[in-house]
Amino acid sequence: MSTVRAMVDTAGSQNPPADKRQRLTNGQLLLGLGIAMLAVLIIVTVFAPLIAPFDPSKTSPNSLAGPSAQHWLGTDSIGRDVLSRLIVGGRTTLLITAVAVFLALAAGLVLGLLSGYLGGMVDEIIMRVLDVVFAFPVFLLAIAVVAALGPTVPNLILTIAIVYTPAMARVVRGPVLSVKEWDHVEAARSVGVSELRLVLRHVLPMVISPIVVATSLTLSHTIFTVTALSFLGLGPPPPDPNWGGMLSEARQFMELAPLTVVGPATAIVFATLTFIVLANGLREVLDVGSWR
């Protein structure tokens, strides 16, 4: 008996037959890698003081030293241990990032659900206001707010939360707009379920996947934004270390001690990459692409 492998050749279907097993493995691999990287970040952040070999603020006459057995990544311009500052500084950067994104997520969730579910005038007003915020370039807005309020950690968090709220709200609103029309929501409404329960029990669970992915991506953006603002001197004030600030200081001595730049730069890239990998892994595993 002859067997022929035929491929799809219709005008209507563009995508070639995908092998689910292959795709799933890729997604799971990415997700696993992302989780491992995230675990490294979390462990280092939580146990920073225990892990750091030196007091990150302790100066020494041994400035701008190269890597040695004692100082693995060398020392900075006033003789502080770069590795220790990197470990402790990560704490500040990641904490600001996490809290800011959490706030943006909370605000975006509430606004997006209200806007998408209620629709009509409420939707119009919320989306118009958010559009105004959204219209500003992230940095310009952040610089303006931080410059006006002063570069403290709470202000930085608030600013970043405000900047990212519109994007989060949109991520929530889009799917809510369609899910609220779905049959099972209508069925629950016809049974007499209250509006609040409809939103929380029947609409929200259906839009969780895109929100999770968007949150992870926003985390990676935010790390970058936080370090960039710190780099520009709008971050947490010295002497407490943070990655953006360290990069900024090291830049002045880049020719003398290039390694002092590599440390914070690598850390920033690693952290940003963590959340991008995580987001892509989640996207594959949660199947957000084929989300209707």
Binding site: D183, A188, H202, P205
Partner: protein, 325 residues
């Protein structure tokens, strides 16, 4: 457990009068009158079949009766209370008397709620069963629709279309309603499953004294379940009567055309039917044309509804009658 309000025993369970629904203007499209002055009654324990082609307004009528769609005009009285004028909290209370079975059993169940969760939701909302007896009631409901109660902890994806529709029906029956709107309840199912669900709906009606508004495009299915039939066209009812009146002696040309188009599973008859050229009907859709209708009456002048009683309980609209010329 009826409402305290005293009602005469022969009163219809549901009384719809002059119901109109207008979809507001959207993106440059003018407002659309989807339902225009629909009136009918449904008696306790009876089924009204609402048939018509897509876009005829039959689904919108069903949703408007359940107040899932804003009513523009008219009244909907269930158990003697006008639903259109009710506060939202009273309306939610009234929902235990009226339930909804949707067309697509694949989308009308929450995919991440177990069958037990889905079935207890209406019970919780209406506090009709104490929490300790929920499980028992869920099992009872599943047995009512001929399903094994052991499946209650599964998710909808474990079930076939027909089984899901049974669960949807069980959910609708959870709070002992008097009236159920079934919107194309079997059109997404295979023919053998269709027959099973239709049989189930009929036996539940006999057992529980339910009233149905049975909305469907399939005239043959409606014939199997309906006591009375209303034919919709362009947002209006063009013919209404007992099932045998409408099916055996259709009076409106639109009804005749619909019935003639339904394929009959008999090769000899069906071949002949296909050979017949269908007549072209030109409906006078003119809203208030000043002149005699097909029955020689000028409704604008006499101020009467364009509706003609042609037999006891059998009426047709003359609005869409082809011009006599």
């Amino acid at each position: 457990m009826r409402l305290a309000k005293k009602r005469p025993t022969d009163a219809p369970l549901l009384q719809v009068r002059d119901l109109s629904v207008v979809f507001p203007a959207q993106r440059g499209n003018p407002p659309l009158a989807a339902v225009k002055g629909v009136s009918f009654d449904i008696a306790p324990g009876q089924t009204l079949g609402l048939v018509g082609q897509s876009g005829s307004g039959k689904t919108t009528t069903g949703r408007a009766i359940l107040q899932l769609q804003k009513v523009h005009q008219g009244s909907v009285e269930l158990l003697g209370e006008d639903l259109t004028k009710m506060s939202s909290s009273n309306l939610r209370r009234m929902r235990r008397h009226m339930q909804f079975v949707l067309q697509n059993p694949y989308s009308s169940l929450h995919p991440r709620m177990t069958i037990a969760q889905t079935l207890t939701e209406p019970l919780r909302v209406h506090r009709s069963v104490p929490p300790s007896q929920m499980r028992e009631r869920v099992a009872e409901l599943l047995e009512l629709v001929n399903m094994d109660p052991a499946v209650m902890h599964r998710y909808p994806n474990a079930f076939s279309g027909g089984q899901r529709q049974r669960i949807v029906i069980a959910r609708a029956l959870a709070v002992n309603p008097d009236f159920v709107v079934c919107d194309e309840p079997v059109s997404a199912l295979d023919v053998r499953t269709q027959a099973q669900i239709v049989t189930l709906l009929r036996s539940l009606q006999d057992k529980l004294g339910l009233s149905y508004l049975f909305i469907a495009h399939d005239l043959a299915i409606v014939r199997e379940v309906a006591h009375k039939v209303a034919v919709m066209f362009g947002g209006r009812i063009v013919e209404m009567g007992n099932a045998s009146q409408v099916y055996d002696t259709p009076a409106h040309p639109y009804t005749q055309m619909l019935l003639n188009a339904v394929p009959i599973p008999d090769p000899i008859i069906q071949r002949k039917r296909l050979r017949l050229t269908p007549p072209e009907f030109r409906f006078s859709a003119d809203e208030d044309h000043d002149g005699p209708c097909s029955h020689g009456e000028n409704h604008v002048r006499t101020g009467t509804a364009p509706w003609h009683q042609i037999a006891d309980g059998h009426g047709i609209s003359c609005r869409y009658w082809p011009p006599t010329s």
